[in-house]
Symmetry: C2
Subunit: 138 residues, 2 copies
Amino acid sequence: MVTVTETLSPDLTDTTPAEHRYDIADVALQTGLTAHTLRYYERAGLVQSPQRDAVGRRRYSDADVRWISFLTRLRSTGMPIRVVRQYIELCWAGDGNEPDRLVILEAHRETVRKRLEQAQRDLEHIDDKIDLYRKASS
Amino acid sequence: MVTVTETLSPDLTDTTPAEHRYDIADVALQTGLTAHTLRYYERAGLVQSPQRDAVGRRRYSDADVRWISFLTRLRSTGMPIRVVRQYIELCWAGDGNEPDRLVILEAHRETVRKRLEQAQRDLEHIDDKIDLYRKASS
DNA sequence: ATTTGACTTCGAGTGCACTCGAAGGGGCAG
DNA sequence: CTGCCCCTTCGAGTGCACTCGAAGTCAAAT
């Protein structure tokens, strides 16, 4: 269930937008992961533990969701969980290590770029084979 | 060790090239697989059992090697072993089922094409993040 | 009051694709 | 004859990333 946290501030001039919070089912829906996987990622140190509500349920912030979305892009481009963990640990460590984070992201970019190029070449060979079959049957 | 089988034919006008045969180490080298993996593929029904020499060692033909090369392209583009097996079983079944083979290859091509497109999009997001870090540090 | 359903933790199980080790044999260099 | 290396088969182990089930809690709906 999506909720909007009530502001307890008596300051009626407060124009900061109310903070959205999402429960695990929302986040699962938004990210295409399962609740099981989200908990697994948290255990594995890939996702910051979100805030909990009064009864202990996870309440994900927008920032949490944005990170999870980015994380799924890293994962779906093949970054191993262990490397994602290194990266997020740098993020948690605070400012000053941005060059280190950059090294990880750029190394990953190169890996992915090379993999894509190889996959294109492989695909061409598969296309050639398909053409052979097509020609043979015509 | 690469070998060239001696022709036993007395026909001196035979101009067909001598048939190359490769042992498992050659094929491993050529394909980037290990001997262990080649045997595993054979057990798993992904590779036709090659001929054996007098002491029972595998002697791969050029055609064997070509298939293994194609197979590695299918594998490295993510075709599951079970699907490769379906495909090669159609090949073994002889002529007449080419349309079925084509269905498998074309379905795979589409899968790969979609995956590549998604990966491109994911990569763009990673690039964006890299740009953010670069701008922040300049 | 009871049922329903979503949530929790913990830990075990699954699926895929290798990957490796053990145990033993063949043949050749020194 | 003795290493030595590569070969063989069989079967177990590994690594990764989930994936699921059990057992229990809690709160809202009926």
